[in-house]
Symmetry: C2
Subunit: 269 residues, 2 copies
């Protein structure tokens, strides 16, 4: 007789798999945990996969090969990602968000764990099979959503700075032209990046694409391939940086006194 009931095994497997999205757990991991046979855990996995699919809570997949096992990938049900982003757009449209100079206040949205976690999963869902080794962001506002994207992909986050810091060790510094047309500096710790790896850029906002171009040029200094670039919001008309660029929300130039024109991008399902 099995030591634990299927009920119990499924609850535990769900907690373990969903707490570490995209991480591969071997069948043996769960066999040892439950003192159960491989056939039993295989059946459990099949039930779990079907249940998650049925409720649109993400996918549980079996990965074959030497490093095989099973993994959980959070994927929004068709329509759910769009509904989630429509709600955020509605929050964005509050007239009180307009600041002098046509800026929009949305720091609250960019640091709300529930919202950045949802947005990070949407970004990750577009790059699960792109072989991303790490997520790169530029301090400061994009850090929370970049962290959640990295979590959903099960990769580390690397943060570029405006200037080199004593506690980052030796760094590569580059200059780039910011969205405002000003020359700025970007610094990235040498030990934070492995030559020849693959990065995903995540940032909060794209105006002219200057900061993102700076990150691309920084990555080429490290001989790192860039799988794509994700932005919470992009100002229309957006700059074209690369094939795989994804913005969740598209914003028209903000004019004081007029309604804020922001909409969810077409790729968000």
């Amino acid at each position: 007789m099995d030591k634990f009931k299927r009920n119990e095994r499924l609850a535990v497997m769900t907690q373990v798999l969903t707490a570490a999205p995209n991480k591969i757990f071997t069948l043996s991991h769960f066999c040892e945990m439950f003192g159960a046979a491989k056939s039993t855990v295989s059946e459990d996995t099949a039930i779990l996969a079907a249940t998650m699919r049925q409720f649109g809570l993400g996918t549980v997949e079996t990965v074959t090969g030497a490093a095989g096992g099973m993994r959980y990938r959070p994927m929004a049900q068709e329509g759910e990602g769009r509904r989630f982003m429509e709600e955020i757009c509605e929050m964005m449209r509050a007239p009180s968000r307009v600041l002098p100079g046509g800026y929009l206040y949305f720091s609250d949205i960019l640091s709300d764990p529930v919202l950045v976690s949802g947005m990070g999963k949407l970004f990750a869902s577009q790059f699960y099979d792109a072989g991303v080794d790490f997520v790169l962001t530029m301090e400061t506002k994009g850090i929370p959503v970049a962290l959640m994207t990295a979590e959903a992909l099960h990769v580390p986050l690397t943060i570029a700075r405006h200037s080199s810091k004593v506690y980052e060790g030796s760094a590569v510094n580059i200059n780039y032209v910011s969205g405002k047309g000003v020359i700025e500096t970007m610094s990235l710790s040498r030990r934070a990046v492995k030559e020849g790896s693959t990065a995903l850029i995540v940032d909060d906002f794209m105006r002219g694409g200057g900061t993102a171009r700076g990150m691309l040029s920084m990555l080429s200094e490290f001989n790192v391939h860039c799988a794509g670039a994700c932005f919470v919001m992009a100002l229309e008309p957006s700059a074209h940086l690369m094939e795989n660029q994804k913005a969740l929300m598209l914003l028209d130039e903000v004019r004081p006194g007029e309604p804020i024109q922001v909409r969810v991008a077409d790729w968000v399902k």
Copy 2:
């Protein structure tokens, strides 16, 4: 007959509850989701609570009262938090981390989603019943662990800046004396904080406690109560700021050529 099997209901409840730690879900929420009777979902909850407890994966609690329901709180099993932190301490002891000036490189640890998520849960576990309304951190290095603490407490994160930014709106600026004895500026957007609420401070490192004192003085400008202060690492002997201050790791002054002396704090179980 129930539309879904207990197996399936338990897997779904686990995913929903653990994806939103500390958030209260009503019994009706799950009754509607499954088309099941309250008695059925109550039994499911009891089984889930017992299973999570048995495997040391956190607590599922029933909250009574008008805003009642059930919630999941991630809590490490006795000994597991310490084991987790011992591993991070071991990473910290690598001699290659020592930088000129006696600084230690640990930006990699501070932006690894798995590590900051675990540390955030340890911080949250100390403040679940402190009525925390938001987490406050000072840019930049503490943002990831502060975000994960906020997620585990199901509250927003607020980020203080080194200077006021056009996209943060009107802000309160204060001056404070940093750990290095230099006068620095801290800026916090007025709309990011609600008067009379309760904050939890989270930051990466405490040397003399200057930045944390700055945050305390900022909070008092907003008439906000501070429930406690959490630091990933504190330099020994630590400054005493308040009763509820928690550092995960305690570090002795780093001397080039000598082994790095760092240990897990006693409160971490």
